[in-house]
């Protein structure tokens, strides 16, 4: 009996003990430093809490993206999905052919509400164009290997143009490179490490997204305020760039980042983590998030603890916008607009008609502020709908997106 007791106790305590010996790099702040933080806030270097800079950080890309935020996009003012920032046009005359066309699409996944909204939007865009006689789409279900074989399968289907939304950057690069000589390729959302596609379509990018949120908190939260940063996962380039830009901003500010935590994008885990931070620090003055899907769970942690909801960074999902309005929150919503799912279809048709397209098609990436909240809050849409779908004037709206 005693032996078991000692063994289990030693096991449990050793697990806890050795864990706390780990250096507090990366994910998290050292809790033993917490009591001292409020006193030291104004004098200590604010960078202490943000950890080392991400390996994914590229200064030149960061500079380019932050500059793009203030550049005016070219194109029709009421159709941001057709606009491009600082476009370098390429000639597509060699791809010109007569319609009707057969377009093909290799989709990384439809496994989250953002991709669902985007996928619906893309299908509706296809329906707008009579000259598309056939649209073949394969869903890779979030698997690199399936997408590699999907891309190979599609090349045998007689596609006039191939649209690819890569699951991961590095692994899909050879498959995309292989498809380029066969058919005009359009890549969007996540990138690949080759410039062989005719055009690469994306919003400004992760650095701009991360900086938009961080700059808002720096403006709204008084110096010395405590910031909690919530991230989904480490090691994903599009998310690493968001955090690394926020880190740069926070390091230059007087704010104090008391924790950087990974939520796995799980609402329950997010809520538990935020509850723990509220318990440990008494107050949190601002919450930065690299994606807004769990923002409402994080807000609820403050509500359930009976403390005021601090300044918040969310995203353009309706549940967050609704919470923002109902609670009269201090909030901002950087966006990664789902209207980018319209652009590849438009680009494919331009290419097949021999019209020039931007080599890097940078779409505008607006953020929702207090002033524009009313425009984007759509109570008739589902709670998980993303407001920047650019789909309001499409014939299937709102029913196709689940709205009433």
């Amino acid at each position: 009996m005693r032996r078991l007791l000692v063994a289990v106790a030693a096991l449990a305590l050793a697990a806890a003990g050795c864990a706390s010996d780990l250096p507090p790099t990366g994910a998290s702040a050292d809790p033993s430093a917490a009591p001292a933080t409020s006193a030291a806030a104004s004098s200590a270097p604010a960078s202490a809490g943000t950890g080392a800079q991400s390996d994914f950080f590229v200064q030149a890309d960061y500079d380019t993206q932050l500059a793009m935020r203030s550049q005016t996009a070219e194109g029709p003012a009421d159709k941001p999905w057709e606009q491009a920032i600082a476009p370098q046009m390429v000639d597509t005359a060699k791809y010109k052919k007569d319609g009707p066309y057969h377009l093909c699409f290799s989709n990384a996944a439809v496994n989250n509400p953002w991709r669902q909204v985007g996928w619906t939007t893309m299908q509706e865009e296809v329906a707008l164009h009579k000259e598309i006689k056939e649209f073949t789409a394969l869903d890779a279900e979030g698997k690199d290997d399936k997408q590699i074989s999907d891309i190979a399968d599609l090349q045998a289907k007689g596609c006039d143009a191939l649209i690819i939304s890569p699951n991961t950057t590095a692994t899909l690069t050879p498959a995309v490179t292989g498809a380029c000589p066969e058919v005009p390729v359009i890549v969007f959302d996540r990138g690949v490490e080759t410039d062989c596609p005719v055009t690469f379509i994306k919003p400004i990018g992760g650095y701009a997204f991360g900086a938009d949120g961080a700059e808002f908190l720096i403006e709204k939260v008084p110096a010395g305020g405590k910031i909690l940063a919530l991230r989904i996962l480490p090691g994903v380039d599009v998310l690493e760039t968001r955090w690394s830009a926020a880190k740069v901003a926070f390091d230059k500010s007087q704010l104090q980042v008391v924790g950087v935590e990974f939520t796995d994008g799980d609402a329950a885990k997010t809520k538990s983590i935020v509850s723990d931070y509220i318990a440990r620090h008494g107050t949190i003055d601002g919450v930065w998030m690299d994606a807004g899907a769990t923002a409402v769970a994080a807000i609820e942690a403050f509500e359930d603890a009976g403390v005021p909801v601090p300044a918040f960074v969310g995203e353009d999902q309706q549940d967050f916008l609704q919470k923002w309005k109902d609670g009269n929150l201090t909030a901002v919503a950087p966006t990664y607009p789902t209207y980018q799912w319209r652009t590849p279809i438009i680009a494919a048709l331009k290419i097949l008609k021999g019209e020039e397209v931007p080599k890097m098609w940078n779409l505008p990436q607006p953020k929702i502020t207090q002033d524009s909240l009313g425009t984007y809050l759509q109570p008739n849409m589902p709670l998980l709908h993303y407001a920047l779908c650019g789909c309001e004037s499409m014939p299937g709206f709102p029913g196709k997106w689940g709205g009433k």
């Binding site: 449990a12 806890a16 989250n112 669902q116 440990r280 409402v296």
Partner: protein, 307 residues
Amino acid sequence: MKRAIPIFVVLAGLLVAIAAANPFFLEPAGFLAFLKRVAPLAILAAGQYFVIVSGEFDLSVGSLVTVEVVVAARLIDGDEAMTWPVLILLVVIGLLVGLVNGLVTTKLRVPSFITTLGAMLILSGAVFLWTGGAPRGALSQGFRVFGREGVWAVAILVVVVVAAVLLMRADFGRTLVAAGDNEKAARLSGVRVDRVRVFAFVLSGLSAAIAGILLGGFAGVSAQVGQSLEFQAITAVVLGGVVLGGGRGHVIAAIAGAFTLEALFTLLNLHGISGALEYAVQGVIIIAAVAVGGLRLPALRLSPSKA
């Protein structure tokens, strides 16, 4: 019950460590928040205990929790009037999945490891198919109150614990343990082994339904809500000194195992360690607890002759 003592010692140690790292834990609100967080896992552990002590496994509870939450959100879709009908439906789904698991295991003689692994895959596949990979709809405030208001969650936990203890003290409990300890002997002495096992699976399904209601209430709709919960529940039960293969262990110890596991996660989180390490810790615990249990067996065999 003697086997259960170590888990309470470990739990007490962890609770002291948490209180030392975070004094808020000792305040009523802080402790209530902890209880609220433990409740779903503790209830799942109670359900899993019935199955394990009868000599079987239930790997399907995690997927079942996800199914419950996703179905609830889709059917309620924010409409308060739907709250109670859907709550009843969720309980029925839980009971039904448990019943099917139990019948396939006992009547078709498919090992429960395979039966419930199959059920896990079928349920997660069905959810994926039905939702297209991301949940739709919304839960009503009336539904969420059970998981969001600490008092409700704790009240439900207390009811489940009391019911579990009463069940184990009744004839059902004795026959269940007998079936897990020595199936042949139990059969020969008139225990309807299949029937008690089916009932154990039904209880496990019911526990998943209740856990799903609490988890959905706690944080809202999510397609990942049940992820790896089956392993957490099994870890909790094993940590409580319940022997895999059945026949030995106390339900209170299994529930204490859930408290211990959650306390350990809370402590790791307080010390800034989270995420992937939780899985590693769980893996170490489950192996070590079973290994330590195995080491003790020879000592146990000696004891009756001395007594």
